[in-house]
């Protein structure tokens, strides 16, 4: 009895430690941000006691029509996004140490910048990590700092839920046209008046998207029925990914872009209706010389923004432009560049277009970009007393800008307040106090200057800027910087938990040795060392990103190694048994399953260069049978046949193993019904069938616990009882997991069962007692579980989740329900089934030696098995955590390490929980 308590207590303690470790490490590493669902409304300024524009409604009579918070300063905006545009693609090469062959390839922009210094500007736009296209587009439109995990209510669909300027444009009746990268239509499914999306999926295709944009762009420029036009070119990004920056395709691509831009500027110069149109050519992020992006190095974040307006602007604009770096352009004229934050783009464009600033935007209206718009030089805010000296353009502009900044600050402050009120993890309170103080000072100064009805001073602009910049710094530290202290503490707790785990395991081990003959001791020790060696090999392999990508194959390789080792020992102790060979063949099958998933993974993961043709070309196989009916029927029929086989097998085992008569019938009937429903579902697609499967599974699971505590399953001998408990548990879960896996399910479950049987029967022959724990078998069990995870088409990124599984049996979407189904699908075959079936490792073997064994010994062995399984998972996960902590500045941290960490952490906690449940149920 003391033993039974021990497993429960140990499992619970380990679970708590792991929870704490995961929590702390996650807080330090996975920066989370809560998405607020609030939207800015045009009327917000009037309702709230916004201190900025008290004059605005009283002076402008058309305030009902006013769509935004500020008057629009340009008529139209043409945004051309060149994906992965490096700063040195646009800026003159004289700014850099050495002229490279990819520089000065966009002379049309340089020409504009040098000949129209007062109506055009080249900016070095600093993006924030993660520099992946999706996150950048989100940042550009919402004005926020998207993190790796934005806690929101979107589940599978990537559509942007936060307030953004595209939404604001549509809301205020502007017409938006989009052409190019189809990510935009995913993010904004219902927003565009016209859209011409092209697939961004194929990295090897350099031209489809660009040619598509070029084809539609020119006709649209001649039309007048648009307000904002977005063109997104992908060729530069793709050329970088495939050939690198220093390559001929990249140069050609840039020359093509240049020709398009030249054409666009020519049209804009000639067309009257485009006179007040601002052209913005920008990158969403930059790239390294190898074409990679995603991280936070200067090569990846320093992208470019070029703005130009055909109309001429007052020459006093030059005093607004910051003293900047200048260099000689191709035509010998000076070209100057400024620096801006990409964070400021969303709010700046909102100010230009005169729409409400997006609710979650935390940027500042960029003065230089704002100054490039003709409207910002016009009289906007009355009373006229402000403009006693109309000749002074600059003063007027400053007044306008101060107004805009005031609204900008008010909007950011509103966001801070509402974020602190609603989000799980707010900002540190000291910093908040400081920010609030800055804001209050700026506002009081602003209203002072108002009350005294004198001109807003330069000081107000500086104070508002100061507030906005301080908050941006705070937000960056909260959303883009790791907290090393928390990470180290979390890692420390993981290590402590392993030490504790080892200690408990050692205690149980020594206890069990007391019951054993001394002779087996050394052999068992050797086994444990081998098992830990395998764990160590696997764990150390996580330090390299390549092995994380190839994790399924690595696990398969190690599993095969243990299988071959087991054959070797079979040879030593006698002859090869058939289960050894069966196991080897199964490993080959599992391996093919894993490799089948690799090209799918490679398609969505830019880091995985997997050449599907070289490794697994069985394409000739179908051609052999072409024209035969059974080729078409085979994929349809084979799951049914295997399903039938499975139901037969489970029926047989349940009737032969479970002794209590009523349980036997309930479980058999339940399982049979489930299989029947699965078959019905596959044949007719009726949605009631999966629901019935879930209901039967759940009720069997609950029933098991109830019966267990009523003591009905207590009858019989210990081994017998444990075996029937495990069997009933597994049969309760398997139909649900099977139907979620889809048509591959029966095959995978069959492979799982046969592999499990092989592992059990090939348990170490050196041990005289069949029921003793064999560490190698536990290790094989765990490796098999990992292989099954990859074989069933999962992998450790979020696009590796099989979203389709969440909708089996349901059409409409509910977060909790679908999340549970997705969870069961993802972890069912790799965690739930293997852990619940662990007791088979100590109970199945030939009944000859297991008869009359001491109850205590069996439970000791069971405890050992569970402890060891938990320990294996804990050690590998700890190494993942360590590796993530080491590689936190790695290029692939968001693409690869972070998802791997999330999956492993969830897997570890699930393993601990399942071990606790098993301890409650079996002991």
């Amino acid at each position: 009895m003391r033993m039974r308590m021990r497993l429960k207590a140990a499992a619970a303690a380990v679970l708590c430690l792991h929870c704490l470790g995961v929590y702390l490490f996650t807080r330090g590493f996975l920066l989370t941000r809560t998405e607020l669902s609030a939207f800015s409304l045009p009327s917000d300024l009037l309702q709230a006691q916004a201190p900025c524009c008290s004059e605005l409604p009283s002076t402008t009579n058309q305030d009902q029509d006013l769509p935004g918070w500020t008057p629009p300063t340009v008529e139209r905006v043409l945004i051309l996004i060149v994906d992965a545009l490096r700063f040195d693609f646009v800026a003159p090469s004289s700014l850099f140490q050495k002229k490279q062959k990819w520089m000065d390839r966009l002379p049309s922009l340089q020409h504009l910048a040098s000949t129209h210094p007062s109506s055009s500007r080249i900016f070095k736009a600093i993006a924030d990590p993660p520099t992946t296209s999706l996150q950048r587009l989100k940042a550009l439109t919402t004005g926020g700092l998207p993190t790796f995990i934005d806690v929101g209510n979107s589940f599978a669909a990537p559509a942007i839920q936060e307030d953004n300027w595209i939404h604001q444009l549509v809301h205020t009746g502007r017409r938006v046209v989009m052409m190019g990268d189809d990510t935009w239509t995913q993010l904004f499914p219902h927003h565009f008046n016209h859209s011409y999306p092209y697939p961004s999926f194929n990295v090897k295709d350099l031209h489809t998207v660009d040619n598509g944009v070029a084809q539609h762009l020119v006709p649209w420029l001649h039309r007048q029925d648009w307000d904002v036009l977005i063109g997104h070119f992908l060729g530069v990004d793709h050329a970088g990914h495939i050939f690198g920056v220093d390559s001929q395709p990249m140069v050609q691509k840039l020359e093509q872009i240049n020709a398009i831009l030249q054409n666009v500027t020519d049209i804009m110069n000639s067309q009257k209706h485009l006179e007040n149109t601002m052209l913005i050519v920008m990158g969403d992020h930059a790239q390294t010389l190898n074409g990679d992006h995603g991280g936070g190095t200067s090569e990846e974040v320093e992208t470019c923004l070029f703005a130009w307006i055909p109309r001429s602007l007052p020459s006093s604009i030059s005093s607004i432009f910051h003293p900047s770096t200048c260099g000689l352009g191709l035509n010998g004229k000076n070209i100057c560049t400024s620096t801006m934050q990409q964070l400021d783009f969303a709010v700046s464009i909102s100010a230009l277009l005169g729409i409400p600033f997006p609710f979650g935007s935390i940027g500042r209206v960029n003065p230089e970009l704002y100054a490039l718009s003709p409207g910002s030089w016009d009289r906007q805010w009355l009373p006229a007393s402000f403009y006693e000296d109309p000749s002074s353009d600059l003063k007027m502009w400053k007044n306008n800008y101060a107004h805009v900044l005031c609204i900008n600050s008010w909007q950011v402050k509103r966001y801070i307040d509402s974020y602190s009120a609603t989000s799980v993890m707010g900002f540190p309170s000291d910093d908040l106090h400081y920010i609030t103080k800055l804001y209050n000072e700026a506002q009081s100064r602003w209203s002072d200057s108002k009350n005294r009805s004198c001109k807003p001073e330069n000081g107000t602009i500086d104070e508002f800027s100061d507030f906005l910049l301080s908050f941006a710094t705070l937000a960056r530290s909260a959303w883009t910087e790791f907290d090393m202290k928390l990470m180290v503490v979390g890692l420390g707790i993981f290590i402590i938990s392993i030490i504790f785990h080892l200690f408990v395991f050692e205690r149980v081990q020594s206890l069990s040795n007391v019951y054993d003959n001394k002779t087996q001791k050394s052999s068992n020790h050797l086994q444990i060392y081998v098992a830990f060696l395998l764990v160590a090999v696997r764990a150390v392999s996580f330090l390299s990103n390549s092995y994380i990508l190839a994790e399924g194959r690595v696990a398969n390789f190690l599993l095969a190694t243990t299988a071959i080792g087991s054959i070797r020992s079979s040879l030593v102790y006698g002859k090869i048994k058939k289960h050894d060979l069966v196991f080897l063949i199964l490993i080959i099958l599992i391996r093919f399953g894993i490799e089948k998933g690799m090209p799918k993974q490679a398609a969505t993961n830019p880091f995985l260069n997997y050449d599907s043709g070289s490794d697994f070309d069985l394409k000739w196989l179908p051609s052999l049978f072409e024209g035969h009916d059974f080729v078409i029927l085979l994929p349809e029929i084979s799951p049914m046949i295997i399903l039938f086989l499975l139901s037969f097998l489970s029926c047989k085992y349940i009737t032969s193993t479970v002794h209590s008569r009523c349980i036997k019938w309930v479980v058999t009937v339940g399982t049979m019904l489930s299989y029947l429903f699965i078959a019905t579902f596959w044949l007719s697609e009726r949605s009631f069938a999966p629901k019935m499967v879930y209901v039967i599974g759940l009720s069997l699971f609950v029933l098991n616990f109830v019966l267990r505590y009523l003591g009905i399953l207590e009858k019989g001998e210990t081994v017998q009882r444990l075996r029937s408990l495990a069997l009933v548990m597994v049969s309760a879960w398997s139909p649900t997991i099977l139907i979620l896996l889809g048509k591959q399910g029966p095959f995978v479950v069959l492979v799982c069962i046969i592999a499990g049987w092989s592992i059990i029967s090939s348990k170490n022959k050196g041990l005289l007692d069949d029921c003793k724990m064999d560490p190698i078998s536990v290790m094989q069990w765990s490796l098999l579980a990992i292989c099954l995870f990859y074989q069933t088409g999962h992998w450790c990124t979020f696009d590796g989740l099989r979203y389709g599984a969440a909708f089996i049996g349901f059409d409409e979407f509910k977060v909790v329900r679908q999340a549970i189904l997705l969870f069961v699908d993802t972890f069912g075959i790799s965690h739930i089934l293997p852990i619940f079936s662990l007791p088979f490792l100590v109970t199945i073997p030939n009944s000859s030696s297991s008869k009359g064994r001491d109850k205590t010994v069996i439970f000791l062995n069971l405890t050992q098995v569970y402890l060891l399984y938990g320990l294996i998972t804990a050690i590998t996960t700890t190494f993942t955590v360590l590796c993530v902590a080491i590689q936190r500045r790695h290029l692939m941290v968001w693409g690869l390490f972070a998802p791997k960490y999330v999956f492993d952490a969830i897997g570890l906690l699930l393993t601990d929980v399942l071990i606790c449940v098993s301890a409650l149920y079996y002991c």
């Binding site: 092995y547 990508l549 040879l571 391996r591 070309d617």
Partner: protein
């Protein structure tokens, strides 16, 4: 019995002959066909196999276990039969471990498994034939009494462990040509085999001294 006469030096000499076979193969492929393992693995592996096979089969047939009942020719025949059987076993093992199965890899896989067979299976086939007991004994080390056992088992295990270790660089993203199957695995196997061949005379020497001290 002649096997008793073999000492550490003889073993070393015999092993160096095997190594010389490999070196000749490598040199031949390099100078005559100007092919290396990296540029065209399959032809190089074929040349290595062709050069190594006669050396291994002849040497280990000379060391055959039951001298009285089994002639030299018979031992050679056993070796020749053992070559494809061993290759089959090796190929199966390597596919279980994850070697690619595409058609274009078949030549390389076949020659590689031939070579592995020469490292592992053929010597034992020449020496033992079909004697099950000897095979079991050599796998379990239960009675490491025999000197030939060392000569067989240490280099063979070396080759297998070397090949196993040689597979590890394959998934790395270094994009080097030698990461292709079966190049680095072959390097690993050859290195492991050579280390094993160096190591087995040492073990034999220690073993003899141990016996000597025991008898004294």
């Amino acid at each position: 019995m002649r096997k008793a006469e073999i000492g550490a030096t003889t073993a070393l000499a015999l092993h160096s002959l095997c190594a010389a076979g490999l070196a000749t193969g490598y040199w031949l492929s390099h100078s005559l066909y100007s092919s290396s393992l990296i540029t065209d693995p399959a032809p190089t592996l074929r040349i290595l196999t062709v050069c190594e096979a006669p050396v291994v089969i002849l040497l280990f047939s000379w060391l055959r276990r039951d001298h009285d009942r089994c002639s030299f020719i018979k031992a050679v025949a056993r070796g020749l039969i053992g070559l494809p059987i061993g290759a089959l076993i090796n190929a199966f093992g390597t596919i279980v471990l994850g070697a690619p199965v595409g058609l274009k890899f078949w030549p390389a896989t076949i020659y590689w498994s031939m070579l592995m067979s020469l490292f592992t299976f053929v010597p034992a086939a020449c020496v033992f034939g079909a004697s099950k007991l000897d095979w079991q004994q050599i796998l379990s080390y239960s009675k490491p009494s025999n000197i030939v056992d060392y000569m067989l088992s240490v280099p063979a295990h070396g080759a297998i462990i070397g090949a196993w270790l040689g597979a590890w660089p394959m998934p790395l993203d270094w994009e080097r040509p030698w990461q292709e199957w079966p190049i680095c695995v072959t390097y690993g196997a050859i290195a492991g085999h050579l280390i094993g061949m160096l190591f087995s005379p040492v073990l034999i020497f220690l073993h003899r001294r141990h016996i000597r001290t025991k008898t004294e």
